[in-house]
């Protein structure tokens, strides 16, 4: 079970209350808040293999896109012929009733969580034998290949894209859609957090760390590293699939390379956010994603046309000044607060050495 310390309890309950109240407090920002939740989930679960296991994956976008297509396909396919729905220029209009919509998205999300997990297991079995840069480059190819393949499959709209079912018209309140997707993403966020927090207190994390720090030694210790690597990646895939499913419904339109298998943006962002906050920490990816999202939403529009230059500068600043991320930087500055015991004599000795 997840053990929660007394003082942490205040923090957690505060955050949950904030999370529950947010869509009412900042009603106009519901979509951005939903994005924030999804970004945090992506960063946090990327951190599982990128940070804890030391396997930098650019391929998590594969599971995200897969989840997106699966949710939408199930949501449509459960009630209507999918091929006719996605047929470009199709003359027929299908309308989901309220019940159909929610049933569809519910089952869709379930499928979107399970299938990417299985896919991660299968692909992981094949490629997790690669290490270091080789693994990173291999996963980079995964997202790109998936985008191109999806762009050729007619039943999911191919290059035309896939319009996901519109929110039921019977619900008159225009705010309902925003709230629905926000709470959906918030639930996934809480689930992901509890799960990651649980892993942080478990032997599993130590094994992942051992793989990161020295895989050969870990193997020599009798750890079946392959098994743990695959399971670690499957955990990420589970949440990436869910996140993708929610985003598909929220955006309302799935494009193979620009929305679903969006390695250039989402795929890079999730890595960036985790590194910005500090990989290999529990709070790092969360803080990183939050900061990144605010930076993006706040500055993006004021520097029209230059936003990617600004992003480039941000990356340089992170790499040069905060190579360990914000949490890493804090940890170096205030090691006591991270529970590290500092020996005063040792510190003095180090100062003298310098």
């Amino acid at each position: 079970m997840v053990k929660v310390k007394q003082k942490d309890l205040v923090l957690y309950s505060g955050l949950i209350i904030l999370g529950l109240a947010a869509p009412f407090l900042f009603s106009a920002f519901k979509v951005q808040l939903t994005y924030l939740c999804v970004l945090i989930v992506l960063a946090m679960t990327w951190n599982l293999q990128g940070g804890e296991m030391g396997y930098n994956s650019f391929g998590n976008i594969l599971f995200y896109g897969l989840g997106m297509y699966l949710t939408a396909s199930v949501q449509v396919g459960m009630f209507f012929p999918l091929a006719e729905w996605t047929e470009s220029g199709g003359e027929k209009t299908f309308v989901h009733t309220t019940a159909q919509y929610f049933q569809g998205i519910g089952v869709g999300l379930l499928v979107a969580a399970i299938i990417p997990t299985i896919v991660a297991g299968a692909i992981g079995y094949a490629i997790l034998g690669l290490r270091g840069h080789y693994f990173a480059i291999c996963t980079l190819g995964l997202g790109i290949a998936a985008g191109e393949i999806a762009g050729g499959i007619e039943i999911i709209g191919a290059g035309q894209g896939f319009t996901t079912p519109p929110f039921p018209a019977e619900i008159v309140d225009p705010e309902a859609r925003g709230k629905f997707f926000y709470f959906l993403s918030f639930i996934v966020l809480v689930l992901a957090f509890v799960f990651v927090k649980y892993i942080y207190g478990s032997r599993f994390r130590l094994i992942l760390n051992a793989i990161r720090d020295n895989e050969d030694k870990a193997e020599a210790m009798g750890i079946q590293t392959m098994k743990y690597k695959i399971v670690g990646w499957m955990c990420s895939a589970f949440f990436c699939g869910l996140a993708g499913g929610i985003m598909g419904g929220l955006i309302g339109y799935i494009d193979s390379t620009d929305v679903a298998f969006d390695g250039r943006e989402m795929g890079v962002f999730m890595v960036l956010m985790a590194i910005l906050g500090g990989k290999g920490t529990l709070w790092g990816p969360i803080i990183g994603a939050t900061l990144f999202h605010f930076f993006k939403e706040g500055l993006w529009t004021f520097i029209l046309g230059w936003q990617y230059v600004a992003l480039g500068v941000l990356i340089v600043v992170i790499v040069v000044y905060f190579p360990e991320g914000l949490m890493g930087w804090l940890r170096e500055k205030y090691p006591e607060r991270f529970g590290e015991v500092i020996d005063d004599k040792d510190r003095k000795a180090q100062v003298e050495l310098k």
Partner: protein, 413 residues
Amino acid sequence: MNKLVKLFTIFISAITLTIASISSSFAKVEGEYIVLGSAISLTGKYSSNGVHTQNGYNMAVERINKMGGVKVGGKSYKFEIIYYDDESNPKRAAQLAERLIKQDGVHYMLGPYSSGLTKAIAPVTEKYKIPMVEANGASRSLFTKGYKYLFAVLSPANQYLEVAIDLAVEKNGGKPVKIAQAFEQDAFSQDVRLGILDAAKRTGSKIIIDDKLPKELNDMAATLAKVKATKPDVLVVSGHTKGALTAIRQISEMKVDVPMLAMTHCDAAKLSKQHGKKSEYALCASQWHKNLSYKDKFFGSGKKYDKDFKKEFGYAPPYQSAESSAALLVFKDAFERADSFDRDKVRDALKTTEMQTFYGNIKFGPGGQNVAKPMILFQVRCKGDSCENKVVAPTKWASDKFYHPIPKWSERS
């Protein structure tokens, strides 16, 4: 850990304050300004066409404001547009539409560039019942979703090159032709493809090459190699600006001989300028050409628009700019006829639009598409080193005869 918690609390409250301070909402009509919103591709793969669109919007705003603005309820208002950069990304576009409506309080929208982005924005505007006049989303599937607040001043994408196939059949003595086609994998180009499929079926023509090209189109050598080998009667290529540029570059490099080359986006790509004689004889679908005889009181004729636009922005206006300018004329007309800022009244007024602009006649069909304006075809023709786009179809506006077949590269100087 305790201090960390404190730090975190400070961090959260700082964020909360920032959000609260920027969430002051704007009004749809501020003082004497009617505020329109638009997400435009200023960066990314559609950036050049995004800028054409934005220039078209800006030109019309300036012109309408200078010529007395929009008269509603006896008072004169001016247009103002809030732009965001959608980075040529549908995900971003949908998010920005939400932002324009919810945070900036925009009640009337102008469309983005490209069908894909319009497809992403339409569900949002529909949800909030925001009328959107769009000038650059031509995909047919936009008009079959039953959208009630979407109005497009342009003809649907499937009509772009249908006529070209008819023309090819006609030149072939009424016999079916062999078609080679290559389309970018995006909503617009795929719809153009559907139009060709329809035309092929109707004329009994055979499609011998049917390739899909990736987005960010920079290479189509594989398709062209096949074209060289199979010798089709007509080669159809569509892939926005980059598609047009890539096609001409590689066709001339590889010296591909094909009797007829039909494309889209020739004028947006400034083909006749960028590739000069290499682009000669390319047949292009266009929504508009300056030589058409439409008129309105704001821009005068197409020729005058061409001149004014050149003066303002330093290049000849592609149809993307012209149709974007027309979108604002439609909005102005609708506001004045509705004589109100009520969104539903404006929408009803838009629905009954029937007007002529320098860009063409505008009347919206039940799906929101413009049904009053035909597509035109022009061909790039050169005199010496200066090349120009000459209208060749339909015959009503044709200034030149359609040159067919394209001479072989070995015979071209």
